[in-house]
Every structure is written in structure tokens, then in C-alpha cells.
Symmetry: C2
Subunit: 417 residues, 2 copies
């Protein structure tokens, strides 16, 4: 018997790993649907025997784990690490996949950032990709696909290149040039779709099914959520159990916030923490389906339109789980304008030397907004998730960095005298 | 009495830190010259009391240091760490400056890379900048300048932003756009010079002297060499004393190779290693002054012309020390064409998932060349220094990544069926 099971987020039906993984199933076989321009239904959660783990491992022991090395806690991962398909060789190769080891630091009193821009492909997405690739190796598939606004694609492409696996990336035509070029440079097969991210998402599902490629589409593949929980563990470990009060998280499809929630929820199940930090989902005004859902209880598709490409999703695929994660943490969701995002990007870079892409800067924009409105409890500890590097989208940086004048040495000497 | 002293590389005159630092002197007061389009003369080395250190610290103890945290060995740094100007507060801020913690991994049998593309500003230059900034704080200056082809500038700009220090960056007009934008984003003052890097170098010296800015110009400021030695320590620590036989290093001004040599030379002085790895300097064919100097014993200025902007230097400022470092390590220097560099960049990215800028790819190009010529001893252990991230120069990546066709979902389905 396996140490984990799959459970449908919507209808609560449970499945063994064999039932799901051996049949290349991603959504709940009973109620799962992936419709055009709609959130997914039947997204699967992965659960472990928390009572058993609690008996075997203490919080104090867990706190001794190093940051960024998920293979130190196989009992909280959906992998058969003893399975010889993930051989010792593979595990030795994992040094190539290591996440950043010290993502968290203070930028002001009571204000920390979680800087995931120094991962192998410079984004948070490497957390999910790590796990996806190990699973693909375990089930014996060596071609993996993903739809992406850029980061998931470059993450999959980059890590596949490190391990000699073929990748197929479906992207919308308006992808920032730097991200497209990053994906291509890693030698991935890239498919530029004349449409939105939502269109690329659907196309990727179709083609991957026909081709038998393992699919990394976010939320659709439950391991994306599972991989993204590791930052919650990293926060727990690095803060020695003293969690922040608020965590600001950029939200597009809603998978990162669901993953972070899942990580904390598990720590609570295990009795290692008492309370989950308040998760504040930050969306762009032009892509705010989750903000609207939380206020009205209804989902309505509106074509996304924002400079923050990584959180641009008209139909957040993991909407229901993300909304639940926010509510259960006693948090909320807010939206910020593109202008506020660019202002935040500028401030983060110039004030703190943190060069984040627009989507990642949204967390700082949201924090600034709430702080200016006095909507944060005083003296509370805040953490901002910084999920992608600024150089992944140079065109956005160009918007507020005009090329300076070129002058001869003599002219400069005069100018500066 | 201080625990270190300055010694002229050329005339061997020794100076106390007070004589040099308190007078804002950089080159040897006796013989130093910084002439247009010439290597510097009178570059200063920093030396420690190795006999004393040897008595107090063993190699085994040193091997227990963590990687990327230079402040664990203050006795090998030119800083008065007890000096209250580098206060505890500053040291706490150093978490923001941390270098990558696991730069080294295998990509093939007997072939390792030292991947410094995940440092705070994504290049090797952060090693020097770390130290420069600590020194500036110690001597009480809060404006720092540098001439740069891009990486030194973005490193100084980024780390200054993290600590609230003003930076002034002088760059040639042909700087890659991504690097320029990175520098500007950090809020630095940027001066675009209608000329070459050599011109920007001279202008920066002039203006900084007048303005009283602390100058980070590479080689000119002896702490640049000193900061860059830390990778030798990191190699020693991470390999538990088992050093590679060859290290391939991209060479422009010759400061990185001199720094790496210095680190190993010190480990040898301390009796912790027997032999310095053979250092192989790799230059671009259009910027090969050190290759020519080593073969003819003469320096001739030729305007540099290469796609590898970070190693583009007609007059390598640290030529003499670099040449000595290569010879004393029993290594040599070779040149590679721009085409070989781009081919190497492509192979590194697609085969190994390592996205390096052209200059950093030169080390792989050099290795490939020598291997194909059977010019490396069999079964020797090789390490490649990867000194800057590929996304710092997107335009070079564009050269071999055409934009793919945009197709509708239906067209893609047909294409892929």
C-alpha cells in the first residue's frame, strides 16, 4: 500500500496512486472537467497518513531539514523513492535541480521577502517542475508538456535539459520575448499559439493526450500544487517555526497560493504549527477572477489583460481551491492596477535591490496598498512571495528605463564637473 | 597592527592599510600608472600573515566553513571586522548579499561546472562587490563608482540598492540592452560613454577622483582581485580538498583568473593544498591580448571586437598579474571565435540546462576545443567557470533563436497530428 492517496477537491472521492498514475489520469475520473474558459473541476489533492507521520517524526526533527531539498522528506511527497525507476543516479543528478538555499531575508522591520528568483530557471515554478520530473521518471515517461505564460515553460524546458528529457511547451503569442527565448534556448519544442494562455492550455491538453506526453499543466496535474507546497516548509524551517502573520502571494491560476496553503495545512495536521498565516492573494485588476469570485461567489470569464503576464488568466484553473485556501487561512484577495505593479517593481528594485518581474512585484504592490489603507494589524510580521526574476521580462523594465543619453568622455566630464 | 598589508605586484614595495586606504590610493604610489589603452602598472596585492594563520587554523577546520559566506574567515579578508563601522547591523544585512550556496555540480563524468549565475545579481562579479561594499562602509564612503561592460556595473548597482548606497556606473554605448536596463532598474546613476570599455574605464577614474567616490574599477581597486578569490575557497571546501586538474576561466581584464589563482596560492601557502590546478584562460579571438602576451612577451593594443562583451578588453587592466597566474599554475591561454562561443552557449543550454551569457560560455568553448585536439590529459578532472547568466544578454540568445511561427490552435493540432 502506498503512503499517499488522491482525493477529489470537489466530490471527495478517493483514489489510489495506481488508479490515477498508471492510467495517466489527472482530474477526478468521476467529476473532473476541463472546459474552455472555465476553472477546472475535480482537481485532485494528495493526502498522506498524517497520524502515522506524526508518530514517526517530530516538528523539532523536521526543522533540522535543510531548505530547498525536498528529498529529505519523502514521506510528504507522492513518490516511491525506493522505486528503482528513481534510481540513485537520478537522486545524484538532483543536485542540478536544487532550489535556492536562502530565499528569505528582511528588507524592513517586520517585512521579509521570500526571494525565489534564484532558482535553477529563476522562478518559483521550479518547485513544481522538480517534483513533476521525478514523477515522470518514476512512471517511465521521457516527454513532458506544459502550457505556460512563460515561467512554467522555461522551468520545464530548463530542468528537462538538465536531465536529458524532451519538453513541449505551448505558449500564447504575446509571451514576453525574454521568456520565449529562454524556453527555446533550453532546446524545448515550442508552440506559439495565436490566442490567449487559456487557448494554449486547452491545446496542450488535447495534443498531450494524443501523443502520450506527461502533462505539467498547472492545477490539472495535481503534482503542480504538491510541488509548490515546499515553500511553506521552507518558511517553517528557516523561521524556526515562527511564522509570519501575513503572506502576500501573486495569484493567476491560483496554484502557488493553493500549494502554500497545502504546505501549512499539513504542518497543522502534523501538530507542528497552531495557525496558518493569513494568505493574501494579489491579482492584477485586468485579471481578477478570484477577487470577484470571493466577493460574489460567482465565476465569470473576462479575457485577461495585464502587463503581469505570469498572473494573467481569465479562467484561473485552480479557482475553487485557491478561494478555499484564502478563506480558510482567514486571508483575502485584492487587486492592483498595472501602474501600481510597475511602481512596485521600481520600488522593490531601487529600494531593496530585488529585481522581480511584474507578476512577482504584485505582492509588494498589494502590501503597499493595504499598508497605506491601514488595513494590516499593527506590528504584524509580513512576508512577500517574489516568484520570478525581472530579467525574464526585459520589455516591462524598459517601460520605466529610457535609454540614457550617450555622450563623449569630454562631454561627461563637463556634465559631472 | 593590521592583519594584512598591500604589496606592489611590480616593484614589491609594501604598504600598510592606513597608507593606502586612508589616502584613497589604489595603485602603487611609487610605480603605479593607469594609461589610456594600456594594462595597469603597480597593481597592489593584499597579503596576510600566513604563518600565523597556519598556526591558528587547520585545513580541516577551514573545510567546515559553509560555501558563499566569506565572513566566516575574516583573517583572510582585508577588513577590520571588529571595527565598529562594519557594525553588527551591517553583518546582519549581509544575508542580502549571500552568494549562491551550491554552485558546483557534475555535468559529465570528470566535468564539473562552477555556476555563479545564481548570485544576487546573477554574475561572478558579486564576489568582488560584496567585499568592496564592506570596505566602503568601513572607510565611511557611501558613493561608489565603477566602469563596466555590464556585469560589474549591475552587481555594484544591485548590491548598493540592497544597502541604500549610491552607485555611479560608466558603461560603453554598445552595452547589451538587458545589462543596461538591469543597472538602471537598481536606481544607479548611469553614464553611457560614446566609446569603448577602455574609454569608460578612464573616464570613471577621472570623475571618481574629483568627486571622492570610492572606485570599484576592476584591477585598479585591489579588493576586486581579493573578492574574486573566494571561488577558489568554495572549490576547496565543496570538493573536500580534492581539486580539479584544470579550471577553464573566461578572461577579459584578467581579474577573475588572478583572483582564483590568489585563492589557491593562499591555500598552498597555508599548507592546505599541494598544488594549484592548471588555470586555462579563455579569451575571444577579437580580444586576445593575454594570449598574445603569453606567446610573444609583448602587449599590443588592438581595439576589442567580440560578441562576448564581458571579456571584451583591448587593454586587459590586469594583464601582468593574469599572465603570471596562468604561468605559475602551469596553465595556458587560448582563444576561441565568436562562433565557437555561440555554439558553446547553445550546447551548454540545450545539453545541460545551463543558461550562460556568451563570455561565460567561452570556458566551455575552450574546453571543447582542447578536448577535440586531444590536448587534455586523459581522465583529468575539469571544472568550467560559468560567470554570468544568459538572460543578462538576451540579444545574443536571439542570434540563434528565431521567433517560431504563430499558428492557431487548429493549425497546431493538424501540424502535430
Amino acid at each position: 500500500m502506498s503512503h499517499y492517496l488522491y482525493k477529489c477537491f470537489d466530490c471527495s472521492t478517493e483514489y489510489t496512486p495506481e488508479e490515477i498514475e498508471n492510467n495517466f489520469i489527472y482530474l477526478c475520473p468521476k467529476c473532473g472537467t476541463a472546459n474552455r474558459n472555465e476553472p477546472l473541476k475535480g482537481v485532485l489533492k494528495i493526502l498522506y497518513d498524517y497520524i502515522d507521520i506524526r508518530e514517526k517524526v517530530s516538528g523539532e526533527q523536521f526543522l533540522k531539514n535543510p531548505i530547498g531539498e525536498i528529498w529529505n522528506y519523502p514521506f510528504l511527497l507522492p513518490l516511491e523513492v525506493e522505486n528503482d525507476k528513481i534510481s540513485k543516479v537520478t537522486f545524484l543528478q538532483l543536485e542540478k535541480l536544487r532550489l535556492t538555499k536562502e530565499p528569505i531575508y528582511n528588507i524592513e522591520k517586520n517585512l521579509q521577502i521570500f526571494d525565489d528568483t534564484r532558482n535553477p530557471t529563476l522562478s518559483y515554478k521550479d518547485r513544481a517542475t522538480q517534483l513533476i520530473i521525478l514523477k515522470a521518471l518514476q512512471i517511465g515517461i521521457d516527454e513532458i508538456s506544459a502550457a505556460s505564460t512563460g515561467n512554467a515553460g522555461s522551468s520545464l524546458a530548463g530542468i528537462c535539459a538538465k536531465l536529458g528529457i524532451t519538453s513541449h511547451i505551448f505558449v500564447p503569442k504575446n509571451i514576453p520575448a525574454s521568456k520565449r527565448i529562454q524556453i527555446q534556448s533550453y532546446g524545448a519544442n515550442i508552440y506559439l499559439v495565436d490566442g490567449s494562455y487559456d487557448d494554449a492550455f486547452d491545446l496542450c491538453l488535447d495534443v498531450s493526450k494524443k501523443k502520450g506526453w506527461y502533462n505539467r499543466n498547472t492545477a490539472y496535474n495535481p503534482l503542480t500544487i504538491e510541488g509548490k507546497k515546499s515553500s511553506a516548509y521552507d518558511i517553517f524551517i528557516s523561521q524556526n517555526g515562527e511564522l509570519p502573520d501575513y503572506i502576500f502571494i501573486p495569484v493567476g491560476d491560483g496554484v502557488i497560493i493553493s500549494g502554500i496553503y497545502k504546505g501549512f495545512w499539513e504542518l497543522k495536521q502534523l501538530g507542528w504549527i497552531d495557525k496558518i498565516p493569513k494568505l493574501i492573494g494579489v491579482q492584477a485588476e485586468g485579471s481578477d477572477a478570484i477577487v470577484r469570485y470571493l466577493s460574489t461567489g460567482e465565476f465569470n470569464f473576462i479575457e485577461a489583460n495585464t502587463i503581469a503576464d505570469s498572473i494573467s488568466a481569465g479562467a484561473p484553473r485552480n479557482l475553487f481551491m485557491a478561494a478555499h485556501s484564502i478563506m480558510d487561512s482567514d486571508g483575502f484577495a485584492i487587486s492592483v492596477t498595472d501602474n501600481e505593479i510597475l511602481e512596485a517593481q521600481k520600488a522593490l528594485t531601487a529600494k531593496y535591490g530585488v529585481l522581480a518581474e511584474p507578476s512577482a512585484s504584485a505582492s509588494y504592490a498589494g502590501y503597499t496598498k493595504l499598508k497605506n489603507q491601514n488595513n494590516l494589524e499593527e506590528n504584524s510580521k509580513v512576508m512577500l512571495m517574489i516568484t520570478g526574476h525581472g530579467l525574464k521580462d526585459v520589455s516591462s523594465l524598459e517601460k520605466w528605463n529610457d535609454s540614457p543619453k550617450i555622450r563623449s568622455s569630454e562631454e561627461w566630464k563637463k556634465e559631472l564637473s
